[in-house]
Assembly symmetry: C2
Amino acid sequence: MRDLKSKILSAVRDDLEEIDGALAEHLAPHFDLARDVAGHILFSGGKRLRPLLMVLSARLCGYAGGKAATFSIIFEYLHAATLLHDDLVDEAGLRRGKPVANSVWDNATAVLTGDFLLARSLSIAADTENIAVIRTIARITEMMSQGEIQQLNRKGDTALTEEDYMEVIKCKTAVLFQGACLTGALVADRNAQDQQFLSDYGYNLGLAFQMADDLLDYTLDSEALGKSVGADLREGKLTLPVIHALGNTGSKDRRKMEEIIQNPDFSIADFKTLIKFMKTYDGIRYTRKTAERYVEKAKSCLADFKSSDTKETLCNIADYALARKL
Amino acid sequence: MRDLKSKILSAVRDDLEEIDGALAEHLAPHFDLARDVAGHILFSGGKRLRPLLMVLSARLCGYAGGKAATFSIIFEYLHAATLLHDDLVDEAGLRRGKPVANSVWDNATAVLTGDFLLARSLSIAADTENIAVIRTIARITEMMSQGEIQQLNRKGDTALTEEDYMEVIKCKTAVLFQGACLTGALVADRNAQDQQFLSDYGYNLGLAFQMADDLLDYTLDSEALGKSVGADLREGKLTLPVIHALGNTGSKDRRKMEEIIQNPDFSIADFKTLIKFMKTYDGIRYTRKTAERYVEKAKSCLADFKSSDTKETLCNIADYALARKL
């Protein structure tokens, strides 16, 4: 896995540098507070995965307009805006090992800075002068807010099905990945078929990525994750590993699992018991298998593109998404 | 004044009906919770002033595309999104006499529904397929969030100058009015000069409207206003009536005023004392005079358009903005 990571990183080193440059540059003319709060979330070790996907998709489609990095930051700004609003919604304490913005500043500042970043991403989208790109951004924003509302609405609901879960992660994660890749094809003015291929690549990758992320809550220690273990559950977020295990239990174990899940102050011992149930009832393995399927689907969407370093990197990213967050 | 109001209302009756229809229709396909929360703010007696300005501006510019009402709801959605986020920022209790959304639901739902409305407005903007309109929406959103951050940042700051105040109300109110009127000219494909005229009309009207609104906090009783009197001050918002009066006081009275202003739990007696100071030191009269100047400026921007019912209604709206909120 180390190999895969270093292969990806060396392939995209220049891109990441350009993306980081564009991110900083587009915040610079804005006044201090907005820049500071936005910077707090933008420059705290984010992986730039979404802008990177757009840049690579554009390159795969032969884009040569020289503005890929600039346009790509739309997707990092959108992502950061969502994080700012989510941290408030989730009442989380840490994000990437740093205190969340709404605890450093306050809720109001976090909300307004999120709005500001959303507006910035819209401005840059307008700079593409491409209505299809703008429609894509509008759709992403709409779906993401709906997904988050949905998730909030079903907080702690142990009746959540795998289908409900898929709908939530589609809205809150996959459409952004999808939009980033599709935008790459759109700015390159590629035909509808190739737009669809890249859109599907991003969509399936996004689903796999979110599943892998949701698995981390049950497989990694707090330090590696940068937020407290069991955080999803404490926030009442039921993810696939739990949903699948719940569906496989008999009524007695199900009741025990539900008791732990529905108590936001569950102990470490409770959490360990839960993980044991999740292993027994196949939640973890099933989630990993499902994510693997989406990774394969994602890669197969690129089949029609001729071999290139860029295509290889996109496939590597898909593989790595599952192994560990990039 | 009653006359002016009924004149305006009878002139725009059909438009308001069409706007209300479009507002409801564009929320309908969306799922329950988002629709309910959005509906709470959208259908609680809003004046539809912003969409109306767009519709009238489009008509003044000869727009005949039949989509004015549909496009106009961009500005009501934007406005409602801002209200949802502001109510959270302000920790206000009432809005238009109804409990604010974040007390009926919760902060998270209010924030996410605001995001959803912002996204809806962007989608409709994309439907115009007019990059200039989309740029206008992006700019409005950016300026509004910056204005709100600015206002929050200067909360309770008695060193706020008239210039600072103008900057805040420009961002938080005038750019939206300006954008609505400009969009009317843009969808009508009117020349740059006329775009500028309508943009300036909206901008000046927005400034006057906000000043009139800020005056209400010191001149109206709670029932008429639909929120508690002195609310701006309790939220630490220093508006022109206070700023101007503060600038005119000697050091002794200034200290007394500052004491009241800086105590968020000031009593009714304190508030009455403050109002006396504001009258003595010309804060209220000065604000009214300044607002009148902007109303005149707004009307003068329409001078080059030939006489019509629409032009008359736009002038009436400008006059009425000052007399009382429409």
